[in-house]
């Protein structure tokens, strides 16, 4: 059974509720279970709001600020991942203002990211790359001579995956996967502000930390920051098969 390499990501987990809510997204009537995020409601009706920190295996976090939307009668630009649908809500996911904001955020991301897409192990399977495309980022006016993490040391201690802090976008998906999916709490963010970076334990290498190597963090990573060594060696897969674990 051949499947798409990457399953569709609805951004936030499915909510189960007896009550349904109908709202308007980009002029379309959409009906979803109460408690669903605007992002997921949009995705279920085929509207993909840009996102980086959201993934449907983890609770919404709201940090990347790409998924901002406009809601009629509400001030500001709420994040569609952390905002739940409400009856009669009128949501717009694509406006010139939103485009400008998303491009502004993307410009910041890329101002602290290596420009090695072509030789990067995640090439072709990188959400940051996708979002740069989606937001239409064409230049980074900040230049690349400012503060950055490009020379951060790679952690290759784990036999199965590498951690390259230079590619980290601090989306916390790995940290949250370790907490929510695995329940081990081995990862955290150390430092604050611009210094923030994923850290196993207290700035330990992965192998010295509490990490149990379940791979949930690697699975959750939207970039090449946490990457399987086999993918680094062999490149991205060309097809996939669903089978059952033999352990």
């Amino acid at each position: 059974m051949l499947e798409q390499l990457n399953e569709k990501d609805f951004g936030t987990p499915r909510r189960i509720a007896e009550q349904e809510v109908t709202l308007e997204i980009d002029g379309m009537q959409v009906t979803v279970a109460a408690g669903t995020s605007i992002m997921r409601a949009a995705a279920e009706s085929g509207v993909n709001v840009p996102k980086l920190c959201a993934t449907d295996s983890l609770e919404p976090f709201g940090s990347c600020r790409l998924c901002l939307v406009e809601i009629e009668g509400r001030k500001g630009y709420p994040a569609s991942c952390t905002t739940q649908v409400e009856r009669g809500m009128k949501v717009r996911t694509q406006t010139p203002k939103l485009q400008a904001l998303r491009k502004g955020v993307m410009e910041l991301y890329i101002s602290d990211h290596p420009l090695d897409c072509l030789t990067c192990a995640a090439n072709g399977n990188c959400e940051l790359q996708d979002m740069a495309g989606v937001t239409g980022l064409r230049e980074v006016r900040y230049g690349y001579e400012g503060e950055n993490h490009i020379h951060s040391q790679k952690d290759e201690s784990n036999p199965y995956f590498t951690y390259d802090p230079s590619k980290c976008i601090v989306c916390n998906r790995c940290v949250r996967a370790c907490e929510e999916t695995q329940g081990t709490y081995a990862l955290t963010i150390s430092g604050r502000g611009f210094e923030s970076r994923v850290s196993p334990g207290q700035d330990q290498p992965f192998m010295d930390s509490e990490c149990v190597s379940c791979g949930a963090c690697v699975q959750a990573c939207p970039t090449a920051t946490l990457q399987e060594k086999t993918v680094i060696e062999l490149g991205q897969a060309e097809h996939s098969v669903v089978t059952t674990c033999a352990y």
């Binding site: 059974m1 399953e7 449907d56 295996s57 036999p159 199965y160 995956f161 929510e180 999916t181 695995q182 329940g183 081990t184 709490y185 192998m207 509490e210 149990v212 190597s213 379940c214 791979g215 949930a216 699975q219 399987e228 086999t230 993918v231 062999l234 490149g235 991205q236 897969a237 060309e238 097809h239 996939s240 098969v241 669903v242 089978t243 059952t244 674990c245 033999a246 352990y247």
Partner: protein
């Protein structure tokens, strides 16, 4: 995938058993499948002291068939048998038992579930009417109280442990009944509300005293019992557990657990809302394993915690397909679907379908096979995908039995410990090389899909078909789906199962038939499978394995996260970086008394034998109890374990062995012998064929060198 090369393995978001999660083994430790140690050519030899000779498939199969026939002619029809693996697919297991019951003409088939969860099959069948867990894994999301008995989910069932922790983080209460301070007792943001650190071997005493509290403090679910359970059996059971001798205060001396803790835990279990029991091999692998399983079922019935989401009796299985291998008739007394061979209707059904006469008497269990081999009445064995030498208790007894046999056919992907005693080696295929199904602890049948051609030409099921053919019995299948169709046709609980439906639904929890066309997530909803639930009296009987002055400590065994069972797979991956050798965990007090220091060599003696491991001084242990794993053959964990076993099912008493532990300077006699024997077998293999890449595992050799250093 890239062509037929695996690039990475990731958990499937839509996977109904794992819901997008995996552990280090499934996610990363698949490199063994293409490891250079894989044996890819069939081999034969006359005696186990002869060098291996690479031969064609035809020659190997002809030789095996001829040997089996010769043995049967000389020693009788019942002198050969087969062993089904819990690591192979349902279809493969089904074919092995079919081969035994047709081509071999006897019921001498058994499975490694014998040594892990056979008491579950027996105990749950007696009380509830079906030999399986009652819930889905997802059910835990609805539990308010989770009771973990004799299981260490964060190490042995990590994916389920994560789901359990998720629920615990959201407020469910936790009771842990385990001699060891396992991670769940206290880990980040999770803490057991009650930890009852009982002495190994006293589960039944503990369960009876919990029942005593429930009965005597008026915590029984009387309506549920009145409607759903056999009244007379209930009353007898109630009167029994209410006896003062079963009170926590009376049992305190036996279990070593303060009565107040037991009372608190019992009250929480009975009154805390939806209460679910999850248990592992720490319940089954005892002299009273079956009794403890029944004791657990009693608790669930007594509190009405069965038949809906969030509750139930949930065995955590030992291997990927333990449930499946049991389901498809791999026990000597049962045809597929847990139907006794003495039942003529069932037998007749299969006789019709298979065109042979089936023996009405149960065949030999694994330990009986060994005994019979030493008696000279059991001389040939077809062993598919299981390493009985490393995994079965009392290794010396096992190897003596195997050495006495005339033809052992081992079918495996590696030259395992059992294969060193074999005469025919048939190369196996990994799960990546074949189609089939696995059934997990929640009775969930899931598809195994071929992603690459078999490295040694044939998938395992095809090898069994070919062997049957050589023995004069024709099995005609074009694809494993046809084997499943046959199982479905002949087994009421599988009537509705087909590959087509599996593709549609993703997976199916049996029973799946006309009454439950989409399968059965939760069992025993309105009534028990056996009609009314049956309480069974569980009288505590101390094991014969008692601590003495000579053997003052109790050894209990288990596993750790990075290694899987006998380690044949995981030892051939980078997982060895986490666990390079088995170690003996010992409480600081016991260590101090014996002058044992952390990391030092210690000798462990039991009535059965002696081995040497490195010590780890740890407060996870309680004083008087030591612990080790059995992932490395040279550790010889099972050299020490005894042939004591469960009274009902012969499941070995792995969890209780009286031992003495002392600091030593060199490896044990057994280890020295083992090293010599392995070296000889290594050499016998090296000359088998040129340029075939056949080689004994170098990791193993490294580890051996370490244990002698």
């Amino acid at each position: 995938m890239k062509g037929s090369e695996v690039v990475r393995m990731v958990p499937d978001k839509n996977g109904q058993a794992n819901e997008g999660h995996s552990c280090v083994k499934g996610r990363f430790a698949w490199g063994y499948a293409t490891h250079k140690d894989r044996i890819l050519k069939p081999m034969i030899r006359g005696k186990i002291t002869d060098p291996w000779k690479e031969v064609s498939w035809d020659e190997a199969l002809d030789y095996a068939a001829a040997e089996f026939r010769r043995i049967q002619k000389k020693y009788g029809r019942d002198s050969i048998g087969g062993i089904v693996s819990s690591r192979c697919t349902n279809e493969e297991g089904y074919l092995v038992q079919k081969l035994v019951r047709t081509a071999f003409g006897n019921n001498n088939v058994d499975t490694c579930a014998r040594v892990c969860h056979s008491p579950t099959g027996y105990g749950l069948k007696q009380t509830l009417g079906e030999s399986a867990g009652t819930q889905t894994f997802k059910s835990v999301e609805h539990s308010d109280v989770i009771m973990v008995i004799g299981a260490n989910p964060t190490d042995a069932h990590p994916v389920f442990a994560s789901r359990m922790k998720k629920r615990l983080l959201n407020g469910a209460k936790l009771i842990v009944i385990d001699p060891r301070h396992i991670d769940l007792v206290r880990s980040p943001h999770v803490r057991a509300d009650f930890h009852l650190p009982l002495k190994p071997g006293t589960n039944v005493a503990m369960l009876s005293s919990i029942a005593h509290v429930i009965v005597t403090e008026g915590l029984l679910a009387t309506d549920f019992i009145a409607q759903r359970c056999e009244d007379k059996a209930f009353q007898q059971w109630r009167d029994f557990v209410a006896l003062p001798e079963n009170s926590p205060e009376a049992m305190q001396e036996i279990t070593g657990v303060p009565a107040e803790l037991v009372r608190g835990a019992a009250r929480l279990y009975a009154t805390g809302g939806n209460a679910a029991i999850y248990y592992g091999l720490g319940v089954t692998e005892h002299a009273q394993g079956s009794t403890a399983v029944m004791g657990i079922a009693n608790l669930a019935m007594a509190t009405g915690n069965i038949g809906r989401e969030g509750v139930g009796v949930n065995p955590l299985r030992g291997q990927n397909n333990v449930q499946g291998s049991c389901d498809i008739g791999s026990f000597p007394h049962e045809l597929p679907g847990y139907r006794h061979v003495s039942d003529s209707t069932t037998r007749h059904l299969f006789e019709q379908a298979w065109g042979v006469e089936i023996q009405p008497e149960p065949g030999l269990r694994i330990p009986n096979m060994f005994d019979a081999a030493l008696d000279g009445s059991f001389m040939g064995m077809y062993c598919q995908g299981e390493d009985i030498v490393q995994s079965d208790p009392n290794t010396q007894h096992v190897t003596a039995a195997l050495s006495a046999m005339e033809c052992i056919v081992v079918q495996d992907i590696f030259m395992n410990e059992t294969a060193m005693y074999a005469h025919v080696f048939l190369p196996g295929s990994s799960f990546l090389e074949k189609d089939g199904t696995f059934t997990n602890a929640e009775r969930r049948i899931s598809r195994v899909r071929k992603v690459m051609p078999p490295k040694a030409v044939y998938a395992d099921w095809e090898v069994t078909v070919l062997l049957a053919q050589r023995m004069g019995y024709t099995m005609d299948y074009a694809h494993p789906s046809e084997i499943m169709d046959e199982i479905a046709r002949l087994t009421p609980t599988f009537h509705g199962v087909s590959y087509e439906k599996l593709d549609q639904l993703g997976s199916i929890q049996w029973p799946c038939n006309d009454e439950a066309p989409l399968g059965t997530p939760t069992m025993h909803i309105d009534h028990f499978v056996r009609g009314k639930g049956k309480f069974i009296i569980t009288k505590y009987v101390a094991t014969d394995e008692k601590v003495t002055r000579k053997f003052p400590l109790i050894l209990t065994t288990g596993r750790i996260l990075s290694q899987y069972n006998v380690g044949a797979q995981t030892r051939r991956t980078e997982n060895v970086q986490w666990h390079q050798q088995d170690i003996l965990e010992i409480h600081p007090h016991d260590a101090e008394e014996r002058g044992i220091r952390d990391g030092g060599w210690v000798g462990i003696h039991s009535r059965s034998g002696e081995t040497v491991l490195r010590a780890k001084v740890s407060e996870r242990m309680q004083p008087g109890v030591v612990y080790t794993t059995f992932h490395f053959p040279e550790s010889g964990a099972n050299v020490i374990t005894t042939e004591n076993s469960d009274w009902a099912t012969n499941c070995p008493e792995y969890k209780v062995t009286a031992v003495q532990v002392m600091p030593v300077l060199e490896s044990s006699d057994w280890q020295k012998k083992y090293t010599r024997f392995s070296k000889v077998q290594d050499d016998l293999l090296k000359n088998a064929g040129e340029g075939t890449g056949n080689k004994t595992p170098d990791i193993k050799i490294k580890a051996v060198a370490k244990s002698i250093a």
